[in-house]
């Protein structure tokens, strides 16, 4: 069977349509996730969604819908814990992730369906996408893409500077939870193609590829959607091509490896651009008050050094060549800052 013939098989066409839409939608959500510095959030939601899938298998209902419910609930919990900003927050999140994965495997065991059925969801499987699954994937993908592009001014502002967005009257909390819910939905639609354990890569790696080249958020968003599309369809084609040789390659790993290959291909260009930009970037400024004193300081200022002492809040400054020196005791001993 040639590759072209393989793509004429119905299950392969369904897989292709799903990979096409998921490849666009997942990096669109991923751009906001990366902007909020939550690149690992997709992993967390993916782990939690395993329990959702297992509940679907156990109760003999659609794993897609049980995964939607559990993933959305998990994403909201993750966002609320993150927003509270407690020190124990990341431990709480870690426990949520472990619980999700362990619970999923445990419940699958209860259902007696065995690990192979679950593995379809963990690493993706092109063979198992039904027409119903495809319709759900198509509908959710379109919703995700429309919201990510249409609400980009609001979502950008909320992710870039939440304080400013709040003063601008935006419902910051609502938009933050919306981003978490969108991430949960993209995890679910991507689980048949990339799999729950690798879905986060399709959200993050395309963004990492294009942000080496871009200077604006809009170009990053659109570029990531393009890069995700190429990686997703390219990876699926690679897995399909290899399957002709008798290998049994899941689409998830090959999609992720194609995306990572893209990153390393673009890396030299990004490095060259960064060097060029570094030449036009001004040096960091320090205000006149904060300039460190470079000259060697032959004495410690004190009562008898001859420099005028000035009380300044909780410490004493010494006037030295027309500026103030304030003593600081640092790791390398006592030194003076200009002040």
């Amino acid at each position: 069977m040639t590759l072209l013939e393989l793509f004429s098989v119905p299950f392969m066409q369904r897989a292709l349509i799903a990979a096409f839409l998921v490849g666009i939608a997942a990096p669109a959500v991923g751009t906001y996730i990366v902007q909020r510095r939550l690149a690992l959030m997709g992993d967390g939601i993916g782990h939690v969604a395993v329990t959702g899938v297992a509940i679907g298998l156990w109760t003999q209902t659609s794993p897609t819908w049980t995964a939607v419910v559990v993933a959305v609930a998990g994403a909201v919990v993750i966002e609320v814990v993150r927003e509270r900003g407690h020190a124990e927050g990341d431990v709480a999140l870690a426990m949520l992730f472990y619980g999700g994965l362990a619970g999923g495997v445990f419940v699958t065991g209860l259902a007696g369906t065995g690990a192979s059925r679950l593995q379809e969801f963990l690493f993706g499987s092109i063979l198992t996408i039904s027409v119903d699954d495809l319709l759900v994937t198509m509908a959710l993908s379109v919703v995700l893409i429309v919201l990510c592009v249409g609400l980009s001014p609001q979502l950008f502002a909320v992710s870039q500077d939440p304080d400013y967005a709040k003063v601008a009257g935006l419902p910051v909390r609502f938009y933050s939870i919306l981003v978490a819910v969108l991430a949960a939905l993209s995890v679910v639609i991507a689980m048949r193609t990339v799999g729950l354990l690798l879905v986060s890569a399709l959200m993050v790696v395309p963004v990492a590829i294009v942000q080496q080249l871009t200077r604006s958020f809009r170009m990053t968003l659109l570029g990531a959607m393009g890069a995700g599309l190429v990686a997703s369809v390219g990876g699926l084609a690679l897995a399909a091509a290899l399957s002709r040789t008798g290998a049994n390659v899941q689409p998830g790993p090959s999609i992720v490896l194609v995306a990572l290959a893209g990153f390393f291909l673009v890396w030299p260009i990004g490095a060259w651009l960064r060097r060029r930009r570094a030449l036009v970037t001004p040096f960091p400024e320090t205000s006149p008050e904060e300039k460190p004193v470079d000259e060697a300081h032959p004495h410690l200022h004190g009562e008898k050094c001859g420099h005028v002492a000035v009380e300044h809040g909780d410490h004493v400054d010494y006037i030295h060549d027309g500026h103030r020196h304030a003593a600081h005791v640092g790791a390398e001993g006592e030194h003076y800052d200009e002040h």
């Binding site: 751009t31 990366v34 902007q35 909020r36 510095r37 690149a39 249409g150 609400l151 001014p153 609001q154 950008f156 502002a157 992710s159 870039q160 500077d161 304080d163 400013y164 967005a165 709040k166 003063v167 601008a168 009257g169 935006l170 963004v207 942000q211 871009t214 200077r215 604006s216 958020f217 809009r218 990053t220 930009r277 036009v280 970037t281 001004p282 040096f283 960091p284 400024e285 320090t286 205000s287 006149p288 008050e289 904060e290 000035v310 009380e311 300044h312 809040g313 909780d314 006037i319 027309g322 500026h323 103030r324």
Partner: protein, 274 residues
């Protein structure tokens, strides 16, 4: 003497009465009264930890009041929704988002108070963004990435973002911190133009520098209380022991708003500008 009904005319941009603020259970502001009248340029000054940044964040609703009453343009904070009249410039942080953003995009966020959902930028929005960039002298940098800017340039971009919304009341948190002198002068020119246009400006600063000639009134914070409210002070006066570590010299209260009350003669001036 708490007031039940609003007696504030709708054109008083800020009125805070007996404001208490606690951050994670620790009282940070105590019994602060502050009225800012239309067209005034007020400098909030004081030592680090005196509560001046907390006060400005409280005025824009980022810190909840544990007691007292805050009105913006004659409406209590919970009933105030007209955020397009308010511009806020937060303290610049060195942290940027995980994804590149251009100067234009950051300033364009300033138009969100005027935009409807799912609509592209209108030509009026674009004109306001361009004008705001020109006011701060960053017109040539519109398509640069914000990560490539110096601290002073970044600060000017954040001010342009607030200006793009054409606010009547502008609150700035430490806009001169870590900014070199040429950028401070550019900032002073931009704020001077706004002041001429009748904007009300509240600015938190450790030292005023080139902004000093613009200031109509100084409010000095000390230990979470208002320690001075009156005519502008020289930087040296603010840093004099009286306000950094000593006792309260004067508390002229609300009635000094816009008055010409001279700084209390007891304020020592041991040092001129160094």
């Amino acid at each position: 003497m708490s007031k039940s009904g609003s007696t504030v005319p709708a054109d008083v941009p800020v009125q805070l009465l007996h404001g208490d603020v606690a951050l994670s259970g620790r009282p940070v502001l105590r019994e602060v009264d502050l009225t800012v009248n239309r067209g005034e340029f007020v400098a909030l000054m004081g030592a680090n930890g005196s509560g001046k940044s907390t006060l400005v964040r409280t005025l824009v609703g980022l810190n909840p009041l544990s007691a007292g009453r805050l009105e913006l343009f004659g409406r209590t904070l919970s009933g105030f929704h007209d955020w397009s009249r308010v511009g806020y410039v937060p303290q610049r942080s060195t942290a940027t988002g995980g994804v590149p953003a251009s100067v234009w995009e950051v300033v364009a966020s300033g138009r969100l108070t005027h935009r409807k959902l799912l609509r592209p930028l209108r030509s009026a929005d674009r004109a306001a963004i361009r004008a705001a960039l020109e006011v701060v002298g960053m017109g040539a940098y519109a398509h640069r990435g914000v990560a490539q800017l110096s601290g002073g340039q970044h600060q000017r971009v954040l001010i342009a973002r607030a200006l793009a919304g054409r606010p009547e009341l502008l609150l700035l948190d430490e806009p001169t911190a870590g900014v070199d002198l040429p950028n401070q002068q550019a900032l002073a020119r931009a704020l001077g133009r706004l002041k001429e246009d009748g904007a009300t400006i509240v600015l938190v600063a450790h030292e005023l520098g080139p902004l000093a000639p613009l200031v109509d009134r100084a409010v000095v914070m000390r230990d979470g209380r208002k320690a001075y409210d009156g005519a502008p002070l020289a930087d040296a006066d603010v840093h004099a022991q009286g306000f950094d570590a000593g006792h309260v010299h004067c508390d002229t209260g609300l009635n000094s708003a816009g008055s010409t009350a001279a700084p209390n003669a007891a304020v020592p001036t041991p040092l001129k500008e160094l």
